[in-house]
Symmetry: none
Subunit: 226 residues, 2 copies
DNA sequence: AGTATTTGCCGAAATTTTGATAAAATGAAA
DNA sequence: TTTCATTTTATCAAAATTTCGGCAAATACT
């Protein structure tokens, strides 16, 4: 099984080296490529550099805990997230789902079960989403505030960047101009709705072919679609 | 061959004296200058004192292991790193590359192969990278609190040094003025955000061409980029 | 006194917004 | 189906605003 190309890349985030090692070794046998991060900040860096297909996220971590990382990833990506936690309390689980985690596993867990869940989540995801498209054509790095289209750097202004982030965070949802104004421009900014149009236009032109991911919903507003 | 000036300085980091000696002897024949360190902490000290052209790094070491040293060096420098390890496991290699190592050699190795790899890495580095720019342009020695631009010492004030360190520690991340104020001036110092601008300006002018590594992110703040 | 740091102000440049106009889509009527 | 009127969106350019960098004065620190 070792000579095939890994099907998916999995980012393992845990502050304990031994835990990471155990999981990584097992997943590699199962033909996954693994990358690791030992805390939240590093996790986000790795995430943006490697664009893993799934993130295994420990909750208890220094610097930035799992919930925060989860939230931050969800701001720009639909990448499946599987949360790991020592306490298997119900409200933790609830919080996890609220923040956008796809699965939730309480420690201790068997590696067999872990990999089964991973398979399930990935299957669920690849059925619906198109991984090749959103992954390679348009890439947004919120930490560096950089945007790449087809691996080429695109310079966006402050508002353009915020607007794109907002649209992507609400991928697949038709947003009215008012909602967009509320979301991107702070607290009930009283501006013309045409302002949104203008920025959408600039975004589309700067994003080139990726600009077509911003759809016009007539009578409503706009929608981002992968 | 002994009368020529050594082309490059190589820092050999290994806790075994005999191993260091064997490698050093051979590399000296190959016309390299060698310096040595027996553990991670010493390695960092030597690194900052001597600014070697390449680091040979053993993974298994007391006090601070090779991965940590590698990571620490990468925080402030692009100097080529060649990792040495006894276990020739795949994941070690992966981790090494993730952390920024340039090459990876499993023990035991032949000295011939080792020096060939060293030559290759050095050649690669001086070819592809703009050596005058990324490699030796800006060097920060946090222990000595010294900064070198193009190998010329630059005197920075306390705040300037802190600011530069903070920016470099968060390389590639767009930082708001508030974040910078928090990070450099600690404990929610309530100062004008323009203060940051002024210090950035001074830093840029003192750093000369290296000052261009400090990018302005309009509407946000600043970002350090190698 | 002599640095180092902070603050205020101004002009240049970049960005955002506005307003006017053209283009496109929609739906109803011919 | 075609035409026409209406509504909605796209485009463009100019005005208004914001932001940043530089300068210099004021303040703090040694």
């Amino acid at each position: 099984m070792g000579d095939t190309t890994p099907r998916y890349t999995i980012l393992i985030v845990d502050d304990e080296v031994r835990m990471r090692r155990v999981i990584a070794d097992y997943l590699r046998i199962k033909d996954f490529r693994t990358i690791e991060a030992s805390d939240g900040v590093e996790a986000l860096e790795q995430f943006h550099r490697e664009h893993p297909d799934l993130v295994l996220l420990d909750v208890m971590m220094p610097r930035m805990n799992g919930w925060e990382v989860c939230k931050e990833i969800r701001r720009v990506s639909q990448t499946p997230i599987l949360m790991l936690t020592a306490k298997s309390e119900e409200d933790d689980e609830l919080l996890g789902f609220e923040l956008g985690a796809d699965e939730y596993i309480g420690k201790p867990f068997s590696l067999k079960i872990l990999s089964a869940r991973i398979e399930a989540v990935l299957r669920r995801h690849t059925d619906t989403d198109d991984p090749a498209l959103s992954l390679s054509l348009l890439r947004v790095d919120p930490l560096a505030r950089e945007v790449y289209v087809d691996n080429m750097r695109v310079e966006l202004t402050y508002t353009e960047f915020e607007l794109l982030s907002y649209l992507m965070a609400n991928k697949g949802i038709a947003l009215s101009r008012d909602k967009i104004l509320d979301g991107v421009w702070q607290y009930d900014y009283c501006g013309d709705a045409r302002t949104v149009d203008t920025h959408i236009k600039k975004l589309r032109s700067k994003l080139g072919e990726a600009g077509e991911m911003i759809k016009t919903i007539r009578g409503i507003g706009y929608k981002f679609e992968a």
